[in-house]
Amino acid sequence: MAQASFGRRALCGVLLLLFGWAARADAQDVTEVTLKGAFLFNFARFTEWPADALHPDTAVSACVLGDRAVADAFAKTVKGKQLAGRTIAVTNLPPTGSIPACHVLYLSGVPETRIAEIVSTLRDTPVLTVSDSDTFTKRGGIVQIFVESGKMKFRINSRSAKRARLQLSSRLLALAEVVDEDVASVASAPSTNLFTSTATALASVDVELFGSDWARRFTAWGRN
């Protein structure tokens, strides 16, 4: 009885949606990829490069390695935008080969060892390195983006930023989880096979729980 009309209504609903869809099919999407693009734009916006690294009349050069979709989204975000009178040029880098001179470098989907290598090469140069790799700030990278509780967040290694002579705005730092880390032990433990990974993890449970590092950090908190 009610079924036919129900079906019609459902169909109407679908049609309405399709209509809305067609109306704006050209715009950007709120997916993780486009969020990353928008975050990258904001990171660039709140960073000041040393005068010798960025002349007032040159464009800001942004490079993306290992994630074409993010490169596209980033390019779309910065289209027609300026940073203190400068335009931003986004380049999608091939997965292998050397890294050209960039002001912003986003790394994703490349092996951890390669990330470590790139970060250590760029350590003392004014490049804002960004990645979604789990251990990025620990390896000396500057900004690590991650998803927590469903929202995109970021962590900044202030020590790495200082070494790179980048001035990050207080607004950016206020929104970030700021860490001050030297290049940690992660870099020196590039375990490659499943069994050694597990063994290392098991061993480190003990260190995490009872080790000196934990105790040191805990007592440091007590003093604060």
């Binding site: 459902a10 950007q28 975050f39 979709a69 951890e112 990974s197």
Partner: protein, 669 residues
């Protein structure tokens, strides 16, 4: 009945047309501030693969509800949350809330075909296998960060109970709470609630969150049940027997790679329905149940090399005590009180490694569950020994793996397999998904799944159901599903899904002549059901912080033995919700409309279709105060849901219009 449905649907359709016609949807992302970007949902799901991944890549059709939704729509229980989700429906028998999914919601099934997880950890009890979703769940939705609904079978990852869907509740961190608050609420039926919360992340990285909630209510004072309408039974009116009290306590501590979660919840509920043949409107020895859930969970997760290693240990305890007043005349008393005491305790240890390989993502895991108590005791108070005293325990071990393989730039093959070793049997469960992603914003999925549900301890009580239940086998399901997910513009996420389910050997209650079966019923492996359906969902980010959501589900679940649609299986469900910050920043006006088609009762009658609406307003006053109010069932629609065999009633009436108002005082730390 038709009118009930027609009006809200028409209003919804008109509202939607207006919205689409007159507004420019959402600002482009590049116009949003970083603060706003950090408030947007990144569209990730954890529970589909036991790793965080974009919804479009998940081997399931996924929905999620966020902490913002919970506060805007005034959700008070997990049942409230799930009732608003595409294709799900909740039936409340005025004691427990039962979840229906994909056309399966048979009255009397104890939610044992839905797997409920808290932060990825199983919390279905180990006696009834039940996912408790009302206030008896033991966690306050105010402590939820997110609820993920992962449709379809997932036994290839989780084993038992992941039959129709997995519901993963992710709880709040201290950094998400960021401060402390005290909330007081009061409302219809003498309801009062107090909640205190505090949470923060300290500069040394220690993140802590603590919450305590206490609520009490008198319930609906007069409930009329025509089945009991005679002078001896108060003319069918149960007076003052609908009240409840609960306490819900939650704590979470995170330091570095270590997370500790603890929760305890206790709920006591009076039962007005005189279920299980008890005396109607008995005021002194009330029919009542008390459920308690305790959870301690320690998780250690860290990256090792390129992998992520997670180790976990958990302790769960569920207890339930029921009191049932019966006519005491045969024993020379006015009333004899039947009771049952249930204790389910388990220890779980497990671990998994998530390892990215070139073009692959490999997950390997193992789990061991020691059910140290699976005890069920029942009898009559003061009449000697209990009549049933099952002192059970069991163990289970499992190994699972899942591999996501990138076949070219646009295609992902996701294959999973899990082995479960029980004491009486072994199961191997597969799942496969083929996901085609023409772009980062769109995906087409074909999903094949298989799942099982083991007979639970209750179903195997030989005293109740005869000796044959000892040979019950797991029931199983095979499913095929096609999903199309798409992100459009800055504002729209749509998901379309069509499925075909084949469930066999369903553990089904059946009458028996066996004199050894105390209740005259037994459980047999004989139900065969074929279900198919279509679901559609759209999630919209509208203008200036307004958001909308609509869904429609069409489903048909047929019992092969009778050729009929299953009881409590509505053919249609339509849901819509819209919220907008109409009274300034941080405020919201939210409306939810839920329509559900008519459902067959166990005796073959049909309940009327029902459309109900809920309205919630939230308004901050300065930085410290927030007032809010919710009206549920705004138009006071009279509707009921099919009752289970435990009831004389064919249907159980649901609440009419109720309201709640509250004040929250927020204090920075």
């Amino acid at each position: 009945m038709k009118n009930y449905l027609a009006r809200p649907l028409a209003i919804g359709a008109v509202a939607f047309t207006l919205l689409t016609g007159t507004t420019t949807f959402g600002q482009s992302l590049s116009e949003l501030s970083l603060e706003d970007l950090m408030r947007l949902d990144a569209g990730r799901v954890f529970g589909a693969s036991e790793r965080s991944q974009p919804v479009t890549e998940a081997p399931s059709s996924v929905s999620f509800i966020t902490a913002e939704d919970i506060s805007r729509y005034g959700y008070k229980t997990l049942a409230d949350i799930l009732h608003g989700v595409r294709g799900l429906y909740v039936s409340d028998d005025r004691n427990f809330s039962f979840l229906g999914a994909r056309g399966f919601g048979k009255p009397g099934d104890y939610n044992s075909r839905i797997l409920l997880l808290v932060n990825g950890h199983r919390v279905n009890d180990n006696v009834f296998g039940q996912a408790e979703i009302g206030a008896e769940f033991g966690l306050d939705p105010a402590t939820f960060e997110r609820v993920e609904i992962i449709r379809g079978p997932a036994s290839s990852l989780y084993g038992d109970s992941a039959f129709f869907a997995v519901v993963n509740v992710i709880t709040r961190t201290g950094s998400a709470m960021d401060g402390s608050s005290v909330t007081y609420e009061t409302g219809s039926n003498g309801t009062q609630m107090v909640r205190g919360m505090v949470g923060s992340r300290l500069s040394n990285g220690l993140d802590y969150a603590v919450s305590a909630t206490v609520e009490g209510s008198d319930g609906v004072n007069r409930l009329y049940f025509p089945e009991f309408d005679s002078p001896e039974t108060n003319n069918g009116v149960a007076t003052g027997l609908d009240g409840y009290q609960f306490g819900q306590y939650y704590g979470r501590l995170n330091y570095g790679n270590l997370t500790f979660t603890g929760a305890y919840g206790r709920r006591r509920k009076d039962i007005p329905t005189a279920s299980l043949g008890t005396l109607f409107n008995e005021q002194i020895e009330r029919e009542q149940t008390t459920d308690r859930h305790t959870l301690f969970d320690v998780e250690y997760a860290r990256p090792v090399g390129g992998s992520r290693v997670t180790l976990r240990g958990a302790y769960d305890r569920f207890t339930s005590n029921g009191f049932y007043p019966y006519d005491g005349e045969p024993f020379g008393q006015r009333v004899v009180v039947g009771f049952n005491d249930v204790v389910g305790t388990s220890w779980t240890v497990g671990g998994r490694i998530t390892r990215p390989l070139p073009k692959q993502m490999l997950i390997l895991g193992a789990e061991y569950i020691n059910n140290v108590d699976q005890d069920y005791t029942s009898g009559y108070q003061g009449l000697g020994e209990p009549i049933v005293a099952t002192d059970g325990s069991s163990q289970r071990r499992a190994l699972f793996m899942q591999d996501e393989i990138k076949l070219g730039a646009h295609l992902i093959l996701n294959a999973g397999l899990r082995y479960d070793g029980y004491e009486e049997f072994d199961r191997v469960t597969p799942r496969t998904a083929l996901i085609f992603m023409p772009s980062a914003h769109q995906s087409f999925k074909y999903l094949y799944g298989n799942a099982f549900r083991a007979p639970n301890v209750y179903e195997k009580i030989e005293f109740y159901f005869g000796p044959e239940v000892a040979s019950l086998r797991p029931e199983s399901i095979d499913t095929h599903e096609v999903v199309w997910e798409r992100y459009t513009g800055d504002w729209l996420r749509t998901s379309v899904s069509g499925y075909w389910y084949k469930a066999d050997n369903l553990i089904t209650q059946k009458a028996t002549d066996d004199p050894n079966a105390f209740f005259g019923v037994t459980y047999v492996n004989e139900g065969e059901v074929r279900a198919k359906g279509f679901e559609f969902e759209a999630q919209m980010r509208l203008w200036r912080g307004a958001e909308g959501h609509m869904s429609y589900a069409l489903q048909e679940a047929i019992d092969q033995a009778t050729g009929e649609i299953l009881p409590n299986s509505p053919r249609h469900m339509g849901k819509a919700r819209v919220s907008a910050p109409l009274f300034g920043a941080g405020s919201s006006l939210a409306v939810e409309v839920l329509t559900i088609g008519s459902r067959q009762t166990l005796s073959g009658n049909w309940t009327g279709a029902a459309a109900t609406a809920n309205l919630t307003v939230v308004k901050p006053i300065g930085r410290t105060f927030e007032i809010f109010g919710t009206v549920r069932n705004l138009f006071d629609v009279d509707y009921s849901v099919p009752a289970s065999q435990e009831h004389v009633q064919d249907t159980i009436p649901q609440n009419g219009r109720t309201f709640r108002v509250g004040l929250r005082v927020k204090l920075p730390l």
